[in-house]
Symmetry: C2
Subunit: 373 residues, 2 copies
């Protein structure tokens, strides 16, 4: 396929392996936009307030989402927390829960209940491996506090760089690798890969390990979010070289990388006007179109070749590969038709009777429209 | 001096070698805060709208500043621009203008009229060298556009990294060094050094070259401005290692580095509420106190030794070394007394009859108070 000369593309409905649908009013606003983005199956993050740490909470949450839009399949996850035991894992498996999301404490939105020491959870991971559940890793370590020493010295007197949001993902990779080595049959996803180093780490693992890539990390670099609240997320977008490595990973994925948008809605008042700006980029209503646009820019810049963005790559990255990894069949047989420039991205997403509103990524621009067959 | 156990420090009034006083209402608001920060002499940046490119503009601007606060000495600068010729330099010298500020086009607030090619200005620099005027360099190159290739290949097939706000200062250093080599007697200041690389580049030059360091770069790292509009400036704060190198440069300066706050007021509406956040940190009313606090944190973290922050270092960094480089005597003989924790930083700086307001750095916290002897 020559993406730049194609005006219409037909694909199976997409699978988004990383969504934040929130709860309450925000959920009422954003859940109905899943299908608008070309997606009919999602893997739902559990970082609500309080986090989803029990099976009952999880199933009730799924029921609330189904009540909002029953035409989407919701794969559910638990929030890794001290209350998650091997017993909970066995029960979760029986209840049809798909996986467990691990947030290191304090690295992103609603992660304050997250993990401090992974070894504590080895019995849980062993049970997950046995039960064939998926472990989703937010792959960052917490930054060294601002007022801590900028470097510590190891036994060999080699200074260790301080951790910032720039090297927080690379600094997590040894933990990631160690988990895979200890639990080689545990299915692990390194979520929202944002660096070339993370991609290399995933590739170096066995086939039980995959990585998700967001739509926005395929187009953003650090300059874009410096001074723009609506491009600011965790992990932060890094260098042009990292972004281009992500684009190349999409087309050379062969199933190791697939779409997880990490679409993260925040009320616009938490993006503007607040002194501390909430981290998260909202892409849900335009998920598939934004990926196509980013790939096309990659072709324009010469990072990708014309032929790289094949029908097979699009079907795989946007659906097949993720479903394959999750063992989640697309039983509805739905297909979508994308039309170039057919969709105007709204300036702000609003809904009658809902008091929050959300500004989408690339507001006011055009992207591909989605229609359902 | 053991900074941590001292509650009162007496110093000569400070010299701030890099201030943005703006014009009109904003100038009415911020100019009266210079002395509140312990400063009685400033070097004033010319990036107004339109920029200060003529001698008449410059002198009229100084008159407006003097009318606001006649008890401050204003050293003035021109904005490097195609209209600045060797003839203008000679006239400027006669008129008592101190230096010329060079902004690369498009790198920061009001820099759109800036320099594209330095070679164009070699005759101007030669005349400045002859007239003993100071060249102030904003030491960053413009970022590679987001949609440009992430790397280009040099003649030797070595990929060159794309330019982002992270490496924009290191990427400028070859230009900086080349200017010094071509004009070894031209007094050059590398403004608001933000990386260890910039400090090393200044040290490698002859004694005609110095660097300024801001109060905020002595305490901020990238994590601080990610998501906080009031810590976002250009050049952006970098890593903890860079910040700590700046702290060490203060105490080991021996005159090569001195205070230039780059205090950059923006109406709070351009910091909150706008989609594109204006770059700049406002420190003017607390300039000296903020430096003391940053040095003290450096001692607490073990980056600096107790004895590093001597009376000599404080007198030099905050006044003597900058005045020495500029040949600007402190003729008033004024002295200030700083008292630990004596000043509450306001949440927002307002003034009757002025419609703009500015949020200062570290709003709501405490710093050293300044009283005048």
């Amino acid at each position: 396929m020559k993406l730049r000369s194609v005006n219409e593309i037909e694909l199976p409905a997409a699978f988004d392996a990383h969504v934040h649908l929130r709860d309450g009013e925000m959920s009422q606003l954003v859940t109905p936009t899943i299908r608008r983005g070309g997606v009919n199956q999602v893997y739902v993050m559990p970082n609500l307030v309080p986090p989803i740490t029990t099976i009952q909470q999880c199933l009730e949450y799924r029921d609330r989402l189904k009540a909002i839009d029953p035409s989407v399949d919701y794969l559910m996850s638990l929030y890794l927390h001290e209350s998650i035991t091997p017993e909970v894992i066995r029960e979760a498996k029986k209840a049809g829960i798909t996986g467990v999301k691990s947030y290191p404490a304090g690295v992103t939105t609603n992660s304050s209940s997250g993990v401090v020491d992974y070894a504590t959870f080895y019995p849980v991971f062993a049970e997950m491996e046995k039960q064939n559940m998926v472990l989703n890793l937010h792959g960052e370590v917490p930054s060294t506090p601002t007022h801590a020493p900028s470097s510590t010295t190891t036994k060999d007197d080699v200074p260790t760089p301080a951790i910032t949001i720039l090297n927080a993902e690379p600094a997590f990779l040894p933990t990631f690798k160690a988990l895979h080595e200890r639990f080689p049959n545990l299915r692990i996803i390194l979520e929202h890969c944002s660096t070339a180093a993370a991609l290399a780490a995933v590739r170096a693992c066995g086939p039980t390990v995959a990585g998700t890539i967001t739509a926005h990390h395929l187009s953003l670099i650090i300059d874009d979010w410096a001074g723009d609240p609506f491009c600011f997320c965790k992990p932060v977008a890094k260098t042009p070289e990292d972004r281009d490595a992500l684009l190349k990973a999409v087309v050379s994925s062969q199933g190791r990388f697939f779409l997880g948008t990490d679409s993260a809605p925040h009320d616009s008042r938490k993006k503007r006007g607040e002194d501390k700006i909430a981290a998260g980029v909202f892409t849900q209503p335009y998920a598939v179109g934004l990926v196509l646009d980013a790939l096309e820019k990659g072709v324009e810049r010469g990072v990708l070749a014309e032929g790289d963005v094949s029908q097979e790559v699009l079907e795989g990255f946007l659906g097949g590969w993720g479903r394959g990894f999750y063992g989640a069949e697309e039983t509805r047989g739905e297909r979508i038709v994308l039309k170039r420039g057919g969709e105007d991205i709204v300036d702000v997403l609003r809904k009658d009777g809902v008091s929050v509103d959300v500004v989408p990524f690339r507001r006011g621009e055009q992207t591909w429209s989605v229609s359902w067959k």
